[in-house]
Each structure stands twice: as C-alpha cells, then as structure tokens.
Amino acid sequence: MKFWIIAAAALALTACGEKATTSTPADASYQETLMTQLLDAQPGDIIEIPEGTFSFDRSLSLAVDGVTIRGQGMDKSILTFKDQVAGAEGLIVTASDFTIEDLAIEDTKGDALKITKGENIIIRRVRTEWTGGPKTSNGAYGIYPVQTKNVLMEENVAIAAADAGLYIGQSQNVVVRNNRAEYNVAGIEIENTMDADVYGNVATNNTGGILVFNMPNLSQPGARTRVFNNDVTNNNTKNFGHKGTPVASIPAGSGVVVNSNDQVEIFGNRITGNKTANIIVASVYSSGLSQDGMSADFDPYPEGIYVYDNELGDGGKNPDGLDLQALKIAKFGPLGALPDVLWDGFVNPDKRDGAALPLTEILCVQNDGSEIINVDAPNGYKNPRLAARDHDCAMEKLTPITLTGPLAE
C-alpha cells in the first residue's frame, strides 16, 4: 500500500515536473550552495567554507545580522572571482554582528569585501588579493567597511588593491591591528572615521603606507586616530591608482600621510625607506580637488597632528612628482634627501578670532633629530623652509580605543 502511494505520487509529480523545465545554468555547484546559505542564514549561524578554491561569476551578499563566515585558513579556503560577470564586489555585507575569518577573496572586479552600515564587525585573518600583482585594472578596495561602528580588523593580508588594501570609511570606534598590506596604492587608509587605533601593522611596498584622510561631501568628518607601533617601510611602488580618485595624488614613497584630518597621533612606529617622505601632513588642497566641488562645511586643514618617538630613517631621497623633486634638488642637492616630516603648509587663515591657529596647535613633532620641511605649497613651493623649531611642542594624548559589546576584550 505504502509503495503504491509513493509510486503514484512520484508519477503525478513527474507529470508536473516535465512542464517546469527551468533554464538553470549548468555548473554552479558551490556558488549555488554558498548563495543559498547566505540567503537562508539566521542570526547565530556559522557558515563554514570548506578547504578548496571556489569560483564565482556573481557577487555574494549577506543581509542577516549575527552571522559568522568562517573558512579553514587564508591559504586554504579561497573564493576566486576571476570569472565574475556581474556585481561590484566579491562579498557585500549589509548587516551587524558580523564576523568573517580565515579565508581569501581573490581577483574581484571591484572591491573584494565590502561591509556597510553595520555594528560590531570582526574581520580576521582574511586575505584579499589581486593575483596578477599591482595593476590599475584591479579592484579598488581589499577590505572595505564603511559607515560601520565598533569594528575590529586584525591579522588580515591585503595585496594589490588599486585604491586601498585595508580601508575603513565614515566609521566610528575602530581597531586595525597586526595586519599586513603590500603592493596596494594605499596600504591602510582611515577615512572620515572617528576614533581609530591603528597598530602592529606592516605596510610595505605600497605607494603610500598608512593614510589618515578626510574627504569632503560625506556624512561625517573624521578625527582622533592613533597610528602606533607599525612597520611602514619602503612604500615606493609607482602609483597605479585611477586618475581622479583621491589616492591617485599620493606620491610614491609616502610612509604615513595625514590629509585634512584632525587629532592624529603618530608614535612608536618604524617608518623608513619611503623615498618621498616618511611622514606627510597635507590639506585636501594638495590633492587636486575642485574647491567648487566641496561642501561648504568641509574643513580642509589638518590640525592637532602629534608625531613623537618614531624610528624614522632613509626617507625622502627620491621624491615623486616634479615639484618635490625640484625642491629637493634645489634645497638639498642631487644627493640629498627631503626631511622625514613634510608639511604642505596650508593653514586656515580664519580659524580663531579672525586668525590662524598657532603652529603648535597644528603640528607638533618630538622625534629625536627629525627635521620638518614646510614646502610652502600655498605659494607654489616658492619658499620652502626647515621648521623643526616651530613645531617642537607636545599635545594632549588621545584615549585608547575600547571596543564594546560583543567585541569587548
């Protein structure tokens, strides 16, 4: 009896099934599996990625809070997007309480991993890489949390992004530690972000090592970033960014760059071998942006920048760009070098009571034996001057970041 029912049911279902032939594409084995897991995920789920290399032709996306994606290691579980035909990212996450760890995302057409508008985000031991090395046609960002809060990025590896390897934008309360960024245009970039600690990272062979930027027209300005105990060496890769993007104006050979950001503390780093300058402090006016294209409330001047106790050396020997090259030769001779700290010299003429801030509120450098050059960019580099004495001052130190909630340590 039971057999007959099953057989009859099977017959009936087959009859239905024949009508319902679909045009499902042939080979989509693991892509379908992972996409379905991401669609059906429930809070608390752990999605395990097995060992192996898996190919995708479209972006992956996750929109459920409280999910962990876990591979077997950044060299074992590899998601490759070489054959991607659609989607601007490899994986885009629009969710909170998200953890991703121990996997690699390779050769995406756009950004590798983008996380927007979430809180309590952990990105750990993830590798993002364009396997053909630095190329302008590579995707923009490796690991890219934006408009997020309470974020930990640690022990990741980012290679060959055409914009920034590790980028955090428009976010709050962030720790970026013990990562490795190499052969990107920008190794690590903190942009329009409030309260970030960036430490224990290695940034090498990028165009610029570690960037702390503010850009106009965005939802929030950034401030209060501590960059400390990092190894920022030999970031001399030719700029391969796309013209028009903010990082395309970064001279090759930039160690740590502060642009238009406020309250940035740079200490205890080893910053060496960066051929334009080991540390650059600049305004957005040095980045080729249109003044007509800036929101009226944007503050383009870096202020409250405090540099101390870094190991600086072997920088400034071959600056990128005609202006700086000419300046170096004129001022220091063909065999000389630009000083360790380069400031573009833009100040807000009307910051307080109709006057500029004293230099000691703009930039302080207490770094044994380090010289500073104000390159006088506002006047076309006409009167560059050594300025260590003007900036021999201290500032109040920033409070360390405390990650909160599920990320509390």
Binding site: E32, D57, L218, S290
Partner: protein, 370 residues
C-alpha cells in the same frame, strides 16, 4: 484504496492543468511557481493577467539591458495610501510584479534578442508571438514588510519557477545599427533585490521604487482617457491626500524631446540611480545624491569621487560642466566593467540612448570646476 484515489486527484489538481488559479496573496510561504500567485498565466501564444490585476507603467523606466517590462499591481484588499514624494504605502496583501521580456531576433529562440517598440497588454492580454519571457519579479507586502522573489520563465514559456539565487543567461543583443553584442542577462538573487529596494540603508526595509507619484503621473497607457494617478484613484487602488495630477510631482518622459533636457536627464538619473544615491541610501557613502531636487556637489557638480576605484575612469569629477567626456557620471554609464559601471546591478550592456541624454545635458551646462 479509496485513500489512494483521493490522493491522486489531489496531486493532479495541484498540477493546475489549464485552469489558472485566481490572484492569491501568499503571506508566509514562497510558492515555487509563478502561476501559484495567479497574477498572470501564459500559454505560449499569450500572457493573460489575472482578474483585478492592473498593469501600470512609469514616465521614465529603469534601464535593464533593453528588456521590455510589464508591471502589475494587485491588492488582496484595501488601497495604497498616497504620498507626494516617496513610494505609496501599500497594504499587506499587495503583490507587485515586473515581467522582463524581449523581442526575439529570428524565428527560433537562440538567445538572440533585439530592440523593440513598447509591447504590452491590451485588455489584460499580451501576445507572445515573437517575444521571449525571461523572468518575473514579485514584490509582496507581507506583515513583516516587503519581500522580493525572482521567478525564471521555463523554456516552454508556460510558467516561471522561483530561483532565489538568481541566474546568469548568455544572450546576444542586436542593436538597431546592426551591431550584435553578447551579454550576460543577470537575474538578481533575493539579496540583490534588496540592494536596490532597500532604499533606506539604515532601516534596510524593502520598498517599491516605481510606484511613486512622480513616476506614475502620466497619461495611462492602458486606459488612455485617464491620467494614471486618476485611474488608480478611480479603480480604488489609491486613496489619501491626493488633490489632482496637475499639482502632483511629475517625472519627465526621458524620450520626449519636447520637454526640457534637464528635466529628462534628471528623470533618467532619478529612476536609474536615486534608489541608492539618496541621503539615506546605500550609496550615500559616496556623498552623491541623484534625487531630482539635489544640487551642487551633492548631485556631482565638480565633485571628486570618494571610493570609485576604476569607476573614476581616470576623470576628475562626476560632472564637469560642458564636458561629458571628462565627467565620471558619463563614464560610469558607458562602461560595462562590473567593477566600474553604474548602476552596479541590473545591466550588462550600455544604454547608448540614456548615455547620450545625460552627456547632452552635461555638454549644455555652463561654468567650470575651479
């Protein structure tokens, strides 16, 4: 044995046969077949709308690789509430559909598609001779909010099957100038539906995009004696604080050369971009706002990109007045590189005519970026 007979009858009935089910709201399950919704039935010759299923169209539609589109609205009960700016507030039990189809190039279906003039339903029936149904997307308003479900039409063109992970279908587009272009027609997965329909990226709540006053405020294609908003009111689909179509906002028809260029270009950017590029949308990370009222750097005037990567195309600003060839906006519309193009989803080909419109608008702008 009687049990068995009853079971067989039940199972066969489930197959449907020729009788299309009436329009049905599925409040908590996702039927595997489009026909289970009863919004439309197709039999190779024609597609017929279910009882009370109302077709509508938009002043300027989203571009989707030149697919033609049939949009319908149906409500289990009640009516949508008018809103002068945002998508109307539809009651639980609303089912919106959008069916994507192409004029077939040639006698047999080989994946070759061509441009076609508008083809749509007349008196609830749309002929299918010479057309290929690709997919139907359902937006259903449930207790918990809107849900998006993609259905892919079968080879027989008799029903469509739920495919939550989406699909890629290789097609060839034959452009009017004779160029043939292979492209990947992409059916979005359910999360990608949200990438456009979660128009507020903070709440992440899905919303319809088309049914807004300004997009619907036009002469009805289906009942030409009526303005479409007036028709919705008369048909009981819309209630609320609506005075008349003359005072309601109105998007331009982007193809109507008698309308001002700026109005047509802004209408095009609105429907194609502003679901993400609005002050609370997913793309507010870029600082670019393409809603119709945005001005200055917010709408791209002399604005530097933020995180565009290859999307800058090596150009300095989103809009350089007088210079479409220097404007990132135009580059992003022209390119088909997935990492650089805009919109990020929904097209694999360039919309030459849309690009030309926006380029012309920028070309006629005065001023420069200082």
């Amino acid at each position: 044995m009687r049990k068995l007979a009853a079971l067989l009858v039940l199972l066969l009935a489930a197959c449907g046969g020729d009788e299309a089910p009436p329009p049905t709201f599925h409040g908590d399950n996702n039927p595997q077949r489009l026909s289970d919704w009863g919004m439309m039935a197709a039999d190779q010759d024609a597609l017929q709308l279910g009882d009370g299923v109302t077709p509508y169209d938009l002043a300027t539609p989203l571009f989707t690789d030149y697919a033609l589109k049939l949009r319908t609205v149906w409500m289990a009960e009640g009516a949508a509430t008018y809103d002068p700016e945002d998508a109307f507030d539809f009651p639980v039990g609303t089912v919106l559909t959008k069916t994507f189809f192409y004029p077939v190039k040639g006698d047999e279906w080989t994946g070759a598609v061509s441009y076609g003039d508008e083809h749509t339903v007349k008196d609830g029936v749309m002929t299918l001779d010479g057309y290929r149904l690709m997919e139907t997307r359902i937006l259903v308003r449930r207790d918990a909010g809107w849900a998006a479900l993609p259905y892919i039409w079968n080879d027989d063109q008799t029903d469509a099957v739920l495919k939550r992970t989406g699909a890629v279908m290789p097609l060839t587009l034959h452009r009017p100038d004779g160029r043939a272009e292979d492209f990947a027609y992409v059916v979005p997965n359910a999360n990608q539906c949200a990438a456009c329909h979660a128009t507020n990226a903070i709440t992440k709540a899905l919303q319809p995009i088309g049914p807004k006053a300004r997009h619907l405020n036009k002469r009805s294609t289906f009942s030409p004696a009526f303005n479409q908003l007036d028709y919705w009111i008369a048909a009981g689909l819309l209630t609320g604080d609506f005075t008349d179509d003359a005072t309601a906002k109105q998007s331009a028809d982007w193809t109507d050369g008698s309308l001002p260029l700026a109005a047509r270009a802004r209408a095009y950017l609105d429907i194609n971009c502003s679901h993400c590029h609005n002050p609370g949308g997913a793309a507010d990370t870029s600082g670019l706002d393409l809603e119709p009222d945005a001005t200055g750097p917010a709408m791209g005037h002399c604005k530097s990109p933020i995180a565009a990567g290859s999307g800058s195309g090596g150009r300095p600003f989103d809009i350089v007045p007088g210079h479409p060839e220097q404007s990132i906006t135009v580059f992003r519309m022209e390119t088909t590189d997935p990492g650089a193009m805009m919109p990020e989803l929904g097209r694999s080909t360039a919309h030459d005519e849309g690009v030309a419109l926006v380029a012309q608008w920028i070309a006629e702008m005065e001023g420069a970026c200082g």
